[in-house]
């Protein structure tokens, strides 16, 4: 123990005497380990940390695997029929479904506010193992269609609206314009997969919402049951449904199976998160290569000291122990600082993410993350200390105790190999981030099909019983858009259920005439007010747009886009054709990019779209669509208008004082929201690629600087014998340039394999995109050139005469 204490003391002294080296190592470790800590925090929260519920290993969800003709393996969508079978015919499970989270207007205690409502079936909280702090769960009666309307508040909302008043239980609150009875309050800190502020009973049925796969199921194994039993029961219960799938996919094999709920919730993000972890691992390897090079040089400078210690009786292990202790100290200090860096990086990542992007309530730096940081700190000290330690084993006492320690060519080759290695990893990261950037640019520069400039959008929730009435709905739209047109500076105003760059409602469509009669398919559906196309400046390609004449009692009409005409009419003019029995297509407009929902191939793409007059939407549709969608009030202005959002709010409030807006957006905001995943991938991977580039540059710079320092004597002698500074610079810089070139070549080979896995996340470009590769090579070559050249500038200051005198 006293020996170890002595080693630690000596190590601290050594590191204090070399502050440049120590600082470089600590900063390099802090950045690289910090990046790993931040990403691992997300991995931990998403994939490793148990769900915050009782016995999370007994909680699951249901997946559908289809093999044979085609393959799919994803979370099973649940409709009303499936839900009833699951509830009634699978006794091994306690099951529940949810209808997702949507924004609604809450009126309570004379306050009106916009809140997130999670719609859940009766036993949802039982599956989670959550008991309300106050009151009770939903009853079976409250969960049947048209049953009593009940609500459970989150602790935070109960606190803010009712000031934590226990007598609030049993009181009515207005949600969606309808009275709900407050039956329960969740405990403080309780979290659900929906992460909502208020919970209402879903009241699922086979109609309406339940007519499509709009529910998500969660399950809990009953005591004594096994997952195998549950899966067998599920497959028996849904056998007829599986038959329907097989009918549409001859030869297919259909299986339903349970997966842990954690996997089900995080599956969509798993590949991206693991890819980021891999990238962070690359950063760590690059940092280790850098530090191994620095440590090797430092060790070589200390070869006389090593030789002296060996001559005085030290064993090889005793020498190496000293260096390991120094490396470990540096790694632990670096790891300590890395916790701070990781914390800041994690905050930055979380700020980058849109609200509710991650399906977890929080991403903490918990014990597991700290342990991970400690382990990789120790591991990096082993990795970057290994080379110098191996070199000490081969110290030649006789020559090492002579005057100077010069890096032999063996060590030079080693250092060049380290540079080549880290440059090759940098190539992979740069290429990957370059491809993602190109893909994102492709998505962001898709032809908009409308004029996105000068638009302001307001959203408001119409998930309100008052607007199940078409007349009230029409009145709201007419009055609010008319008021908005009166705002000074506003050129036009309209309302649409969705606008470009957003997800649209999708529904079935049946062609009703011509040779295509009877053909069915899917289409996006958007209800719009008459000025919609003019306000967005969407080109009209054929026929006409809607007017005030297109009302509830006139011919049902529709306008379709080019994609619809291509899909169903082979690109011919669709004007005059009939769909859905009696709806007449009166116009064709240009395609606009939507957040793909129908047949998702890319996050933004054109899909067949049917526009219908808002005035012709029936009551049944109104009560349904506003559960999932908040319509957009769109105004166009010629230029900036001061106080525009306030004026728009006033126009809405004038039409309905109890209708708060949920937000104001520009078109870019909507695009950003739709492309959030892609933007985050670019930001994170881009940051890591930049860090890798910086580390590689530092590594190259350090290598060349060391060579210049070690060979100053040789350079001085050469210059005294007739060489020029320029020749010396080229000679010295060549060794690093050669290593960098080799690294680039290796990196391209690595990328050929690694980038293949990116095919599914790239849009508009291939994985072997030549311009991207060329840019990567150019960037690396430039950085390597600068990093190789700058330290050689010192050569110009070498005085040959002084060098010879020093000899």
């Amino acid at each position: 123990m006293s020996g170890l204490i002595q080693d630690v003391r000596y190590a601290l002294r050594q590191l204090r005497r070399d502050p440049g080296f120590s600082l470089t190592v600590v900063i390099t470790l802090a950045l690289s380990i910090g990046a790993n800590t931040a990403i691992f925090s997300v991995v931990n929260a998403l994939l490793l940390k148990s769900l915050p519920y009782t016995h999370p290993e007994r909680m699951g969800t249901i997946y559908l695997r289809v093999t044979g003709s085609g393959f799919s393996d994803e979370r099973a969508g649940i409709d009303g029929e499936k839900w009833e079978l699951l509830r009634d015919a699978v006794p091994a499970l306690i099951s529940a479904v949810s209808g997702g989270t949507s924004g609604v207007n809450l009126q309570a205690s004379s306050r009106v506010q916009y809140v997130q409502d999670g719609r859940i079936s009766a036993h949802y909280l039982d599956v989670l193992g959550l008991q309300p702090l106050l009151g009770r769960n939903f009853s079976e009666d409250e969960d049947r269609p048209h049953g009593p309307k009940a609500a459970i508040l989150s602790y935070g909302l109960w606190h803010s609206v009712f000031s934590a008043d226990r007598t609030a239980l049993g009181q009515p609150i207005l949600l969606r314009g309808e009275p709900y009875t407050l039956v329960g309050v969740l405990p403080q800190g309780a979290t659900t997969p929906l992460d909502a502020e208020v919970y209402t009973s879903l009241q699922p049925s086979r109609q309406g919402e339940g007519g499509g796969t709009n529910f998500a199921a969660i399950t809990r194994l009953r005591d004594g049951a096994t997952w195998q039993e549950a899966d067998a029961e599920i497959n028996r219960a849904w056998a007829l449904l599986a038959q329907r799938i097989k009918k549409d996919n001859p030869g297919a094999h259909v299986t339903y199976y349970s997966v842990p709920l954690q996997k089900g919730q995080t599956d969509a993000l798993r590949p991206q998160v693991l890819a980021l972890m891999l990238a962070a691992g690359f950063i760590l390897l690059i940092a280790c290569a850098n530090l191994a090079g620095l440590a090797l040089v430092r060790m070589l400078r200390r070869t006389p000291e090593v030789a002296t210690r060996l001559a005085l009786g030290a064993s090889s292990w005793q020498i190496q122990k000293q260096f390991w202790v120094e490396n470990l100290l540096l790694a632990l200090v670096g790891g300590g600082v890395a916790v701070g860096v990781g914390f800041l990086a994690l905050r930055g990542i979380l700020l980058l993410l849109p609200e509710h992007f991650l399906p977890v309530a929080s991403v903490p730096l918990d014990t597991r993350v700290m342990a991970f940081t400690l382990v990789i700190s120790v591991l990096t000290s082993v990795l970057f200390g290994m080379l110098p330690a191996l070199v000490t084993r081969r110290v030649d006492l006789r020559s090492s105790m002579a005057s100077r320690a010069v890096a032999g060519w063996g060590k030079m080759r080693l250092r060049q190999a380290l540079i080549a290695g880290e440059v090759s990893l940098t190539v992979v990261l740069l290429a990957a981030s370059g491809l993602l950037i190109r893909s994102l640019v492709h998505l962001e520069t898709l032809p908009p099909g409308f004029n996105p400039n000068g638009l302001m959008i307001a959203k408001a929730s119409l998930d309100d019983a008052r607007y199940h009435d078409p007349a009230a709905f029409r009145q709201l739209l007419n009055e609010s858009t008319a008021a908005m047109r009166q705002i000074p500076g506003v050129q036009n105003a309209a309302v649409g259920l969705s606008i470009p760059y957003e997800t649209a409602l999708n529904d079935g469509v049946t062609l009703s005439d011509g040779k295509e009669a009877g053909q069915e398919g899917g289409t996006d559906v958007v209800y719009v007010t008459p000025g919609y196309f003019d306000t967005l400046q969407m080109p009209l390609l054929a026929g006409r747009v809607f007017t005030d004449v297109d009302g509830p009692n006139t011919q049902h009409v529709a306008v379709v886009n080019q994609a619809f005409a291509r899909k169903f009419y082979g690109g011919t003019n669709p004007v005059g054709r009939y769909i859905n029995k009696d709806t007449l297509i009166v116009g064709e407009v240009a395609d606009v990019p939507l957040s793909s929902n129908l047949y998702p191939v890319a996050p933004l793409m054109s899909e067949q779209t049917t526009y219908i007059p808002a005035a012709q939407v029936n009551a049944g549709s109104l009560s349904l669509v506003h559960v999932w969608f908040q319509p957009d009030w769109v105004v166009r202005t010629a230029g900036p208008v001061e106080g525009l959002t306030v004026a728009m709010q006033r126009a809405l409030t004038g039409a309905d004082p109890k209708l708060p807006t949920s937000g104001f957006y520009r078109v870019n905001d909507l695009m950003a929201r739709t492309l959030a995943t892609q933007r985050i991938e670019v930001a994170l991977l881009g940051a890591m690629a930049t860090l890798a580039l910086l580390l590689s540059a530092v590594g190259i710079f350090a290598l060349v600087a060391n060579i210049v320092a070690e060979r100053t004597r040789e350079i001085g002698i050469r210059m005294a014998l007739g060489s020029t500074p320029g020749k010396a610079m080229v000679r010295i810089g060549r060794s690093a340039a050669g290593a960098s070139l080799l690294g680039v070549a290796l990196g391209l080979v690595l990328s050929a394999g690694a980038l293949r896995t990116m095919g599914s996340v790239l849009y508009g470009i291939g994985v072997y995109d030549v311009p991207t590769i060329c840019v990567v090579i150019s960037v690396l070559a430039s950085v390597a050139l600068i990093a190789s050249t700058v330290p050689t500038l010192r050569i110009a200051r070498i005085n040959p005469a002084q060098t010879l005198r020093d000899e």
């Binding site: 002296t308 005085l312 006789r398």
Partner: protein, 235 residues
Amino acid sequence: MIQLKNLERSYKSPAGQFWVLRRINLEIREGEFITVMGPSGAGKSSLLNVLALLDDGWEGEYWFREQPVHAMKRKQRAELAKRNTGMVFQSYHLLDDLTVRENIDLPLSYKDIPAKQRQSLVADTLDRFRIVAKKDLFPSQLSGGQQQLVGVARAVIHKPVLLLADEPTGNLHSSQAKQIMDLFRELNQQGTTIVQVTHSEANAACGSRTIQLRDGWVVSDTANPDLQPYEAVKP
């Protein structure tokens, strides 16, 4: 104490085999104070490195207190050297990051000696060499003579039976050199066998025996007047 029989050392070079020690036959008795002399490149330091067991690349026989060093593995030789030899270098080879006390303690730290005992030995040595006041200074704060004094103290703290000195006064002024040689004489009188390499006749005079080397051969040995050197290197 030491017997060398036909000991040779060579290096491979692009021009062929390069010999630094040729057929060295030598006997060193306990308590001798031997000076090894010769021109540059004669093999003096090479011989010293072999005697100190710092060099493994030699051939021949090397007996140390009747133990066959030539038959030992590297670890065994290192152990033998650790216990029995001390080395003093021309360039002192003190560790710049360690204080005087720590430099002197260094050889003890590589042995299994309890900390308290080590402290006691170091204190005694500091006292013996009259450098107690300098124990917390670093080598850069000492004169050349003081540094070499510390080097000698470090070499003898573990009471080696054999002290090897390679140009111990090469970097010192004459007065400092005399101080060091007086110290060597004192150590020799106390029983330590000393082998020094030097160019200085004055230093050589402190010893009891002088061996001359040339081109790797022993050409004369005051303890062996009948020595017949190799023809090519006869003086």
